[in-house]
């Protein structure tokens, strides 16, 4: 209760007290006065009013207290909200964002393009699981939160414990040129025996694979990741191919090995065809020559025969009768006197001429 209210009530009490005293006095002196009685009633009513006022005042006070409490509550709530907002702002500001250069050109691209590009370059920007380039990945970086990325957790499980645990790398379709099937089977059997041994004597068995077996279960054992083209890739590239051409004394400008190869094949084909043609021509020529030779041989033969005939004729000039007689005799034997021996038949015409000449 505050001071003005108390003073007000005190005043009212005093008035009532005075009125009561005056009343008591007047009654004691036996001089009752209507005025004093009215004053007493008025004082009493005044006090009633004061008490009612006090009640209201108290109610109001309680209400004020309640409101103050509510205000305080809301104040704390507001403070909390402000604090969390502030923290949130700090967190937001702490989130690393890509700083975009304010100057320079900007290019439009779609999310799909960006994702496709990210997928295409990921094999060159992110090392395969388990490849650490010698960096110790099991301990978190001192500056960053100790978050367990899939890679580090896999790495821990792979190098630290459980040699036979199939890690994510086992399910990834990584081409594995070094691991041949026989090696795999031996490894599996080795693992099986290790597992059996583990169940038999769990306290004494080493849970880690011996170092010489680790490359067998991890195809990327000791593999290094380079975020740039390797020397082998550069050596198998186009510039290296051009260097080889230059070394071979070929000007690479406008030189296309495929085209050259096609041209070479075409030339080869043309050469073969030309050879074939030449061979055919040669055969024809040879045949012709052979025929010619045969013809000449025949002619020579004929000439020889002719000469022989002539000689025979000349030689027979003296003893023609004997020959004729022999002939006739032969003809008689054959039964056909008109037939001459075959070798003479085709000389018949000449024969006659010769005979004529001879007779002349």
């Amino acid at each position: 209760m505050d001071i003005p209210m108390a003073k007000d009530l005190d005043g009212r009490f005093d008035r009532l007290e005075k009125a009561v005293n005056a009343m008591v006095d007047s009654v004691a002196k036996n001089t009752p006065s209507e005025k004093i009685a009215e004053e007493l009633v008025a004082a009493q009513e005044n006090l009633y009013d004061g008490l009612k006022l006090l009640e209201r005042h108290q109610n109001n006070h309680a209400r004020i207290q309640q409101l103050r409490q509510e205000t305080a509550l809301y104040d704390t709530q507001i403070k909390d909200i402000m604090t969390s907002l502030w923290n949130m702002r700090k967190e937001l500001k702490a989130v690393p964002t890509t700083t975009h250069p304010t100057t320079g050109p900007k290019y439009q691209f779609t999310t799909a393009e960006l994702l496709a590009y990210a997928r295409r370059i990921s094999r060159n920007t992110l090392p395969p699981p388990g490849v650490t380039n010698g960096v110790d990945m099991s301990t978190p970086e001192p500056s960053s939160q100790p978050t367990q990325t899939p890679f580090t957790s896999f790495n821990t499980s792979f190098t630290g414990t459980a040699a036979g645990t199939p890690g994510p790398a086992m399910s990834t379709p990584t081409p594995n040129p070094t691991l041949d099937p026989t090696q795999t089977t031996t490894t599996t059997s080795q693992q099986t025996t290790t597992a059996a041994a583990t169940t038999a004597k769990p306290t004494t068995t080493e849970s880690k694979l011996p170092p010489h077996l680790q490359p067998a279960v991890n195809p990327l054992h000791n593999a290094a990741f380079q975020p740039w083209p390797t020397e082998a890739q550069i050596r198998s590239g186009g510039l290296a191919a051009i260097q080889r051409l230059v070394d071979a004394g070929i000007d690479p400008r406008g030189y296309d090995p495929e085209k050259e190869e096609r041209r070479r094949q075409a030339e080869e084909q043309a050469r073969k065809e030309a050879e074939e043609r030449a061979r055919q021509e040669r055969e024809v020529a040879e045949r012709r020559m052979r025929e010619e030779r045969e013809r000449m041989a025949r002619e020579r033969e004929r000439a020889r025969m002719q000469q022989q005939m002539q000689q025979q004729m000349e030689g027979a000039g003296a003893g023609a009768a004997g020959v004729d007689g022999r002939r006739d005799g032969g003809g008689g034997v054959a039964g056909a006197g008109t037939d001459k021996p075959k070798q003479f038949t085709f000389l018949g015409a000449d024969d006659d001429d010769d005979d004529d000449e001879d007779e002349d």
């Binding site: 990945m137 890679f151 990741f225 740039w228 550069i234």
Partner: protein
């Protein structure tokens, strides 16, 4: 191979067109686009050291070529780089004469290799 005399007189060419399957002139079996895409070899510090030791990086014509190759920084060429970060960084560094001189040091090349390989493993660990 040695850095032979090269001409700087010829005007800078326009970047090659994106291959579209059409018949275009081949040099040693490769189109200009394919050959210039090997700008990515520059991302390899060892290769840069090799180029420096063969005096390529002091050849004005080669420096002009390095400047010309910067067209890879913008579309539509940018998206064909499969080693974008290291390539573009090296391309940027190679525009500075100091870097072109310094990369002849095998120590610098080795440091770049070690740093690059370490960063390649560590960059995705944050968060």
């Amino acid at each position: 191979m040695d850095s032979g005399p090269m001409s700087v007189d010829s005007a800078a060419l326009d970047p090659p067109s994106i291959p579209n399957g059409a018949n275009e002139p081949k040099h040693g079996g490769y189109s200009r686009f394919e050959l210039e895409l090997e700008v990515q070899s520059l991302a390899n510090p060892q290769y840069l050291n090799y180029l420096a030791s063969r005096k390529f990086l002091t050849n004005p014509a080669f420096v002009a070529y390095l400047d010309y190759l910067q067209y890879w920084r913008r579309p539509p060429y940018l998206k064909y780089l499969t080693f974008p970060t290291s390539t573009l960084k090296m391309l940027e560094l190679l525009q500075q004469e100091k870097f072109r001189q310094d990369i002849i040091s095998p120590d610098l090349a080795q440091a770049l290799i070690a740093d690059g390989m370490k960063t390649a493993v560590e960059w995705h660990r944050e968060g």
